[in-house]
Symmetry: C2
Subunit: 203 residues, 2 copies
């Protein structure tokens, strides 16, 4: 299944095709594709090149570790993520390396790595679904994540599957058109709330 | 100038070619390319589709507004960003829309939009340089950014220029090879710090 963004201006094909499915095929993800995904995340930008991102991952063919990751997801997300071939958690280093000075960009740069991974997944025929609905403290306990790190988001990744295999409520969401507010509402010039001329609707 | 990432596994060309130059050409960025950049950012993923990102931008041919953005950068960044054809600031909505409940993913998802914009810039022959070295409170004052938003990062964007035009110290940095820690140091399975088997160095 594909779910193209309905764009108002041309965007790279990988951006247009990226989306967050809940229905995944049971087809395993090839190890070389996993290496490409994390290699791409590795080259994301970060403030002062601090690279504050880590990932804890498990594949479905490793049921013990898969179950450990799944426990960190809330019930709603467990319901569909249990069928993805790979699940995981992103983790942020909260301080600058070797210091106790907080890095204001810790979450921001984990987001950059995650977005780079998502776009790369699309390039490989895969899709990534990120989840806010997780238990960060439970995840910290399960995996022994140190105090100066914080578990950020849940991840599910695989080849897109059959929406009809989802429970009815999730199936509706899976098939609904993708929605975003227009760029004119969030790109400003000169003053907060004043649409940048280049994005202002033509009169 | 190009500055390819030296990857350990194949990554999409746009990921390999993306980097953060300080030397920009004076060539203006075409309005249709600006529309594509923010359209791409628009389609980034966000927790619960909250889309917490905004951008304040100014082009060099609009000296008044360009100067306002530049004032929000620290001196080190002003030194080179003053010559970029477009500069800006990213801004995060701190709460869930229409509520005072903090959105834990505000900065994370601004990072996702910024990374998507950066990759799109590369696709258009442009490059984006993000900056942590800004004065968020000064920026809030200059642009009237509301209290439930926070200015996140500085941005400079344009066609890459001539590194030789930079002051010596910046020129060295501009020409130095790109560095990242290996993925084996940040992708774990089963326990914090235990490299995922798929990324473990072959023995």
């Amino acid at each position: 299944m594909e779910k193209l963004a309905e764009t108002h201006a041309p965007v790279p094909e990988l951006v247009q095709r990226r989306w967050s499915p809940r229905a995944f095929s049971s087809r395993p993800v090839e190890p070389e594709k996993l290496r490409s995904l994390f290699e791409a995340a590795r080259w994301a930008a970060s403030s002062g090149n601090t690279q504050p991102w880590s990932f804890i991952i498990a594949t479905k063919d490793d049921p013990e570790n898969f179950g450990r990751v799944l426990q960190a997801f809330n019930e709603n997300n467990q319901a569909w993520a249990k069928d993805a071939p790979l699940i995981g958690l992103s983790v942020a280093a909260l301080n600058f390396p070797g210091s106790d000075k907080p890095n204001r960009f810790a979450f921001h740069d984990v987001g950059q790595a995650a977005a780079t991974l998502a776009i790369t997944a699309t390039d490989l025929g895969l899709q990534l679904h990120q989840m806010g609905g997780i238990f960060p403290d439970k995840a910290r306990e399960i995996f022994g994540v140190p105090q100066d790190y914080e578990v950020v988001a849940g991840l599910a990744l695989g080849y897109p599957g059959d929406a009809n295999a989802l429970p009815e409520k999730l199936r509706e969401r899976e098939l609904a058109p993708r929605q975003r507010k227009p760029a004119a509402e969030f790109v400003f010039t000169g003053q907060w709330g004043k649409t940048a001329p280049v994005l202002a609707p033509k009169s």
